[in-house]
């Protein structure tokens, strides 16, 4: 598997990462090197082996349905570049 320049441009856009046109070529090369390295795993026969999701034998820990958090709108919006009456304020987005 490998990616081309257009794919890299698209992925960057989807991830909202600004990337200059001249950076695309070297980035494509780097990504393809990484993909080729990971592809070595294809040599292993994994038929019938479920994907490993954790290195420890564990399942999801669950918590009780209790209100233990929240109530601090000031802290939540503290780092926002713009706030308005308890809301985050962003440039107008309309559908």
């Amino acid at each position: 598997m490998s990616v081309d320049k257009d794919t890299v441009r698209r992925i960057a856009h989807l991830a909202r990462i600004a990337i200059k046109e001249e950076e695309l070529e070297p980035m494509t090369g780097e990504l393809n090197t990484i993909l080729a390295w990971v592809e070595q795993l294809d040599e292993v026969d994994t038929d019938g082996v479920p994907p490993m999701t954790s290195v420890v034998e564990a399942t999801l820990r669950q918590r009780a349905d209790e209100v233990t958090d929240g109530g601090y709108a000031d802290r939540v919006t503290k780092n926002a570049s713009n706030r308005n009456d308890g809301f985050f304020a962003v440039p107008k987005v309309m559908e």
């Binding site: 698209r10 856009h13 989807l14 991830a15 909202r16 994907p51 999701t53 954790s54 564990a58 399942t59 999801l60 820990r61 669950q62 918590r63 009780a64 349905d65 209790e66 209100v67 233990t68 958090d69 929240g70 109530g71 601090y72 709108a73 802290r75 939540v76 919006t77 713009n82 308005n84 009456d85 308890g86 809301f87 985050f88 304020a89 962003v90 440039p91 107008k92 987005v93 309309m94 559908e95």
Partner: protein, 487 residues
């Protein structure tokens, strides 16, 4: 003589079939969010129910709410669906201001609930079976408000991270009526189970509606999706409009483009949303913050054993045990509160008579006043007492209607009204007889007529009832009249 009702839509080139599938988002009725301990109450101050997890602050980790898992499983069981012992949470990646993580935690390849089916009863007495493809748990997004400021959109994350159950149907629906009935049925089921309050105005339940059209027997057409509709009436309107629009496009030589459309409830139209380019490339992958969710078989069995009686079972029981008509049974089970009310009235009484009073006088009065059964001034025990007063002949059925009106207005118990207004039925044969004698003496011509025309007897009954203010026991009146005037 059943007239086959056709769901086909007439076009210029022949009949068209509309194919509909619904993705219902049902908010889990939990105190706290799916992955954080922030509250879920509706209508709180902006951003006051947001934890640092919901705001996606760096380093915060999600921990799943056990109660939400339980509600998803219960709902799955209520939909007759397969519960998956192991399910996986994935990240669905997209950018929007009300999605601080830049992804929604959802379930993609391995949802918590698999295939099931729902039986949907229609107004004409027929029913359709709607396949359920899956139910998965996911986070809700925040809310953007666009009309409070001329240049800004304001973002409130209170809803961000609230647990949603997305219930995906197969494209088994063939008309707007069926879609509305399906939505109502799913709402009834989650309300019976108590897993979602089903409150569509507050957005606890909303649907994405997929619509396509085809000539009967053809392959499925290209579908359009109408997002986030929060009323059954709007769901139906959007389907009607969208089906017509697609037929028109195709018949004029055009092609339907797969797209997401917005339903505008002001003019009843759908229009394309400004398409976010590549919006559908969500690049799902398993959320590395969350291990697979494993459920214990014994725990699932225990939940199954504790499920309340569901509407389909209740309806079947009302028909077989109480002898109710399928229609009355459907009306009663359509809301759990109605069914509970009916069962309280019918307890120890004639079930059919009870059903008649509940679905007849009570529902008519509630509908007229626009009141829900929950707020009815007439309690189940008072309505039961009214029925007792008829059964033991204290009052006549006719007087009972008047008493009911007074009960509905005032909320007072029937016995009090009957006593205060002196409405007790006269069963005293002597008193009735003397009234009858007076009427016979005053109307010799009518007495002659009744000899020729036995139907004239009704006139005498009417006179006696009028003279006694409707309180005479009709059976006693009939008996005496027959004795005096009959042949």
């Amino acid at each position: 003589m059943s007239e086959e009702k056709s769901n086909l839509i007439k076009g210029n080139t022949g009949d068209w079939e509309v194919v509909i599938g619904l993705e219902i988002h049902a908010q889990v009725s939990s105190n706290s969010k799916l992955f954080s301990g922030a509250a879920t109450q509706f209508g709180a101050e902006p951003n006051s129910q947001v934890s640092l997890v919901d705001a996606a602050m760096p380093g915060m980790l999600p921990v799943i709410n056990q109660y939400c898992v339980e509600q998803a499983v219960k709902t799955g069981l209520g939909l007759g669906a397969k519960i998956n012992r192991v399910s996986v949470f994935d990240r669905k990646n997209y950018f929007y201001p009300d999605l601080p993580q830049g992804y929604q935690i959802s379930q993609f390849k391995q949802p918590i609930v698999g295939e099931g089916e729902v039986i949907v009863d229609l107004a004409d007495g027929t029913s359709v079976i709607v396949g359920i493809e899956r139910l998965h748990l996911e986070q809700d997004a925040g809310k953007s408000i666009h009309d409070l400021h001329p240049k800004q959109s304001l973002v409130d994350l209170n809803r961000s991270g609230i647990a949603l159950m997305e219930i995906v149907s197969r494209p088994d629906l063939r008309s707007s009526e069926q879609a509305g009935a399906y939505m109502r049925k799913v709402r009834t089921i989650v309300r019976y189970l108590g897993t979602c309050d089903g409150n569509m105005e507050q957005g606890s339940m909303r649907a994405d509606v997929n619509v396509s059209v085809r000539k009967p027997g053809d392959e499925l057409g290209t579908r359009c999706e109408m997002k986030n509709i929060n009323s059954i009436r709007f769901i139906q309107q959007s389907i009607e409009y969208e089906a017509r629009r697609q037929i028109e496009v195709i018949e004029n030589g055009g092609v339907i483009e797969q797209q997401t459309r917005l339903f505008d409830s002001k003019n009843g139209e759908t229009r394309p949303m400004r398409s976010k380019e590549e919006a559908h490339d969500y690049r799902y992958f398993p959320d590395p913050d969350l291990l697979p969710l494993a459920l214990d078989e014994a725990w699932i069995d225990d939940l199954k054993a504790k499920l309340p009686e569901l509407p389909d079972d209740k309806k079947a029981r009302y028909i077989s045990d109480f002898g109710l008509s399928p229609y009355d049974a459907s009306v009663l089970v359509s809301e759990r509160e109605r069914a509970d009310f009916f069962e309280a009235v019918a307890s120890g009484r004639d079930a059919k008579l009870s059903a008649n009073w509940v679905t007849g006088s009570l529902f008519a009065a509630l509908k007229k006043e626009g009141v829900s059964i929950h707020d009815s001034k007439v309690s189940a025990s008072d309505l039961g007492e009214l029925i007792d007063l008829i059964s033991d002949q204290t009052i006549s059925g006719r007087i009972a209607k008047d008493v009911f009106e007074l009960m509905f207005e005032s909320g007072r118990p029937p016995r009090e009204i009957v006593e205060e207004q002196g409405l007790t039925q006269v069963t005293d044969t002597g008193a009735i007889e003397s009234e009858i004698d007076k009427i016979i003496a005053a109307n010799p011509d009518k007495v002659e007529q009744v000899k020729e025309k036995p139907r004239m007897m009704g006139w005498f009954v009417g006179q006696v009832m009028q003279a006694t203010g409707g309180k005479a026991n009709p059976q006693v009146v009939n008996e005496i009249l027959q004795k005096k005037l009959g042949h």
